[in-house]
Amino acid sequence: MTTVASFNVEYIQYLSPSGELVGDEVPAIAKDYEQIKSLYETMVLTRVFDAKAISLQRTGKLGTYASSLGHEAVHVGIGSAMKYEDVFAPMYREYGVQFCRGVKMSEVLLYWGGDERGSDFSGPPHDFPWCVPIATQNTHAAGAAMAFKLRKEPRCAVTVIGDGGSSKGDFLEAINAASAFKLPMVMVIVNNGWAISVPRAKQSSGETLAQKGIAGGLPSIQVDGNDLFAVHNEIKKALDRARNGGGATVIEAITYRLSDHTTADDASRYRPDEEVENAKKIEPISRIRQYLMNNNQWSVQQENQLKEQCALKVEAAVKTYQNTPKPAVTDMFDYMFAELPHDLAEQRKYAEELEKNG
């Protein structure tokens, strides 16, 4: 019996829930207070936006909405580590990443408001839109990374997957593709404990989800997903490696879905309250605020100002959303093909006339 291969999965955390630096290593970002403040602001904005979106849905002004409550460190950590020319392939709740990349809040609202124009967004034009069919985004990211590699562009693809989604073949095939083609790619498993009502433990009896990357021999780590420093720093390292021809990395970020799955869900049916209460104690925003305050970089007054600014920004976004004129019936047809085929042109005409006379 000979050992032919050995693997470890490491867990990385820099900032404790109480806002203290832990461990020996201090990542560069921990001393860059301006950047921390800016990212903190985005995290808070994301959360204020989130609450507003939920209330819009509750009052019938928005469709089903997938909350990002509790995911702010993972999302902003990813978004802040990426370059504009990189490509992001999201699932459906990574607003924090997208805000870092220039997507507007009003565009997010448009999308969940049932309007395709939300996906024609102000973020990088090469970024992927929201992706509902779970895990399919992962091989799209692999394809994008392949394009960058073939064209010898120093760009990377970053994609996310949930703990639930990490069970689906597409994610596993994407890992394999990243391995086979040595793709410039980072795959983040956002393990928030739940896939709608199915707990992480039911997805796999594996010790970690990160180890799915070992299947392809990829560097595979776990980070505290509520620790902005850990997420940002590890994604950055992985991106640097990828950009330099070192291939892909799998990062499992452990966080918690503090909200219902979406506004169509009622998590109290299947999830104990204590679990949620405990998770709130280690949520990602307060520890950054605490860290900034501990280092005399943040005050109660600044916090209040920020809250106010965020509320105003969100209000403005809601207004833009609500003032967007309705889409035209013909929009259904006009983006199907670059050039409308004959049969569809006929159907378009019928729909248009129906609209006029209806």
């Binding site: 469709g63 089903t64 459906y92 999308y111 969940w112 408001g113 049932g114 309007d115 395709e116 929201w130 509902v132 069919p133 779970i134 949930g162 639930g164 989604g165 069970s167 689906k168 073949g169 896939a195 709608i196 009502s197 199915v198 039911k202 997805q203 796999s204 169509a264 869900d265 049916r269 299947y270 309705k326 889409p327 019936v329 929009d331 259904m332 047809f333 199907m336 049969d343 569809l344 159907q347 729909a351 129906l354 609209e355 209806g358």
Partner: protein, 326 residues
């Protein structure tokens, strides 16, 4: 005897079969303690335990593959695809295996399984939650495709689907999951898997439909009655195999036919019915057949979904055109 909705009738049938047949298990994403995202499996895990009502990992190909594996070994699994928009990873297993094991092994192995999926639009759902792609499966030999359109038909057809020794795709029109209640007797009586239901007798025109479009079609028939036009309404119910005899009989009587479906037009179930009329009903037809369908476009996000789906108005317009011809 209870006054229940269509989705409750689904639960009732599942509970009945779980109770009476130990080989039956229910599996899928969120079907356990959560009772399914539409509550179609509500209460079942509590009543029958986690070994009979199984939450699976999130992997539809795996669900389909395991369902087939279980079925070949003598179980009667009832799997759920959470929405029809997420059934695509199951397609390889459905087409290449569920539909084929009996034929491939000359009867040695078979697939007495059911795959349930809520389908169709009109509930303001997000992207991929409103698809109607029954035609894909109706084209595939070896699998039955069944679509109930009332609580009692849901109960009776689902029981038959579970008991059927071959694979059945059971598509639930989610827009009418809770539309109205009906008295359903929980007596375990099944309905046949190869028969249309004549919902309304008529003499002037035959309206053929299935699933949630039964609602608009019956409304249109009411409006037509007010105008003195007597419409026969047929719920196809088993879109594979289609009971064309009943449809042909009806058209023989009325001489006119409009087919209403939510799905896109091209190469659809409606195409098959119209084609069959062109082949075998030509001499019955006093006017061209008309199809009122979803467009050959992507089902739009919900701001436009109503514009996509056939409306009472569109049905009436088609009927008018067909009635004009004499």
């Amino acid at each position: 005897m209870a006054n229940i909705t269509l989705v409750e009738a689904v639960s009732l049938a599942l509970a009945y079969e779980l109770e009476h047949d130990n080989d039956v298990v229910v599996l899928g994403e969120d079907v356990g303690i959560n009772g399914g995202v539409f509550r179609a499996t509500s209460g079942l895990a509590e009543k029958f335990g986690e070994e009979r009502v199984i939450d699976t990992p999130l992997a539809e190909a795996m669900i389909a593959g395991m369902t087939i594996g279980m079925a070949t070994q003598g179980m009667k699994p009832v799997a759920e695809a959470q929405f029809m928009g997420f059934i695509f990873p199951m397609v390889e297993h459905i087409v290449c295996h569920a539909a084929r094991f009996r034929n491939r092994t000359r009867g040695r192995l078979s697939c007495p399984l059911v795959i349930r999926a809520p389908f169709g639009g009109g509930i303001h759902a997000p992207e991929h939650h409103s698809e109607s792609v029954e035609a894909i499966f109706a084209h595939i030999p070896g699998i039955r495709v069944v679509i109930p359109s009332s609580p009692s038909r849901a109960y009776g057809l689902l029981l038959a689907a579970i008991r059927d020794p071959d694979p059945v795709l059971f598509l639930e029109p989610k827009r009418i999951y809770r539309l109205h209640k009906e008295e359903v007797i929980d007596d375990g009586e099944e309905l046949p898997l190869d028969m249309c239901f004549e919902l309304r007798e008529g003499t002037d025109i035959t309206l053929v439909t299935w699933g949630s479009m039964v609602k608009e079609t019956l409304e249109a028939a009411d409006k037509l009655a007010e105008r003195g036009i007597s419409a026969e309404v047929i719920d196809v119910a088993t879109v594979s195999p289609i009971d064309m005899d009943t449809i042909q009989e009806s058209v023989k009587k009325t001489g006119r036919c409009v087919i209403i479906q939510e799905a896109a037009k091209s190469c659809s179930v409606g195409s098959e019915i119209a084609a069959n009329l062109a082949e075998h009903g030509l001499y019955s037809l006093m006017a061209p057949v008309k199809r009122v369908t979803g467009y050959d476009t992507i089902m739009p996000l919900f701001k436009l979904e109503k514009k996509y789906m056939p409306s009472v108005e569109r049905i009436l317009k088609a009927v008018d055109e067909v009635m004009e011809v004499s």
